[in-house]
Amino acid sequence: MTFEISSAARSRRSGAIVSSPARRWIWRAVFVFALVWMAAHFITLGALKWGPPVRHDATVLGQMIAVAAFPLLFLLAFGTRNPLRGGIIAGVVGVVALLAVLLHS
């Protein structure tokens, strides 16, 4: 925090335009949130197709996985140094979950 304040003060004094990483992180978090939320949604929907034959059990299984996967996937996607890599990880999981909904017979 000390570093944060002094850095901001330095940039104000010098008049330089410094792009705050916090602003980038907001957009990154929103983007990752949207991708991960869709992945969790497709996991819940897909469980009815690839999960147990009883609807109640399939729904419960899907929701169990979705609730556990959401924070893990979010932290994984948000934690990568390269934002694109994080987006790709969350996107791939979402696409696989979507394919499981669409293609599973």
């Binding site: 419960v60 169990m64 924070p71 979010f74 934690g79």
Partner: protein
Amino acid sequence: MQDTLRTRMGWLHAWVGFAAGLLLFCVFASGCLAVFDTELTRWLQPEASPQTEAFSPQSLDHVLPAVHDLLVQGEKPFITLPSRRDPYLRLEHHDGHEFLTVPYNPKTGERLTVRATAGGTFFYDLHYTMRSGVYGETLVAFVGLALLLTIGSGIIIHLKGLVSDLMLLRPFAARLRAWLDVHVVAAVVFLPFILLMAYSGTFIRARTLFPPVSYLASIENAFRTSVPSTPRRPEKSAVSIPPSFPPLAPLVAEAERTIGAGQTGYILFQPQNILISRTDASGPLLTREHVDFSAEDGHVLRHVLLPGAITHTEQVLKGLHYARWTGVGMRWLYFISGAMGAVMFASGSIIFLMKRRRQSGERLMFRIAEGLAIGSIVGLPLGTLAFFWANRLLPVALHDRPLAEGHVFLAVWVLSAVSGMVWSLLGRPFQGWKIQLFCLAGLGLFLTPLDVATRPGVTFFHVPTVFAATDLVAFFLALVSFQMARRL
């Protein structure tokens, strides 16, 4: 600020934690009260003495006329059988917010004259809906997900010092350092409990976040103009309720032959069926196994028990979350762990504000945030104590008394939030914290005298009861609040 994993996670932990933490404080605080909902109902109905006679199944039939009346009113009444936790027979129904309960003598079936109250289940409803129905339920489930994110990012930040931080508490260090120690100790020691509650709680309400239907279909339905394609069918005739029910004692005996002796907990009444269900206290699996009888002549209709590994996993998660199978010791452990969870959110929010005060203290958004923090961290306990005071001070004959108790709770909470916001916007937030903490200390301190003065048949030498425990917890809260207000 450098863009590293730790700084990214720190940023996520701080902002998601603060935004969700104010609501999560309320969820955890009300949750740890909900663990003792049955006991609190007994405190809130002091006319029912702590000890009573042994249960006689024949007494159940005396409750049936009241059950019939509730069914005619369209309610779904159920009888809770006496247990070690609560020796009374109770007739209950849900009024849309909480379970209203009327106690009966377990031996004679005679209705006890007690005050009407929202009872301990008021906090249960508050815990998972914030008294806002399905919208509140969705919001609480959503902050549950946010909690999982916050825990994950918190673990990543503190991964190196996770073990060493366990023993590090410096209450007399600089203020920020002391609050940080409180936050880390509360979070690390009780991490398994908080993680279990966060996951199981979010999963239990997952249907509001991740329904098993496509969002696209839901959106399409929302925008579709509803044109009735077929002429409206005539209204379905109301289901008839039998004029009288069969005697309940033989039905309970029959149900016990199927689900085990002493394992029956609830008798749920529907217009055509009587469901006798397994008690939640029977074990960690919340199976809700039930034997159904005909409401006409009492013959057995079916025995319902959901099988399967996934269903059992769901039942275990629910059982661990609700903790209705536990004894008193485990219940206290849940209470303390929940309270420490609330301490974690409160200290986290205070740290968030302290770190930003110098840089952003003059900003409007910061002042609003601090006002909200006062309203949440002090306002909820204030409202809770006001609820207990209202229970004892409102006239017993007051119409809609349970609703009035709820209104007092909400009024005090809103007043606290507004007052906190005003002090904060005036640039004197410490004044806001102090005044409210002193009010909280006063309400907590004088709850014991209030209890003694308004409880019929007070004796000082009896077995430890819910009355003593509730008063002592309020007294402890008063001491903590007083000390906090003094040190501000």
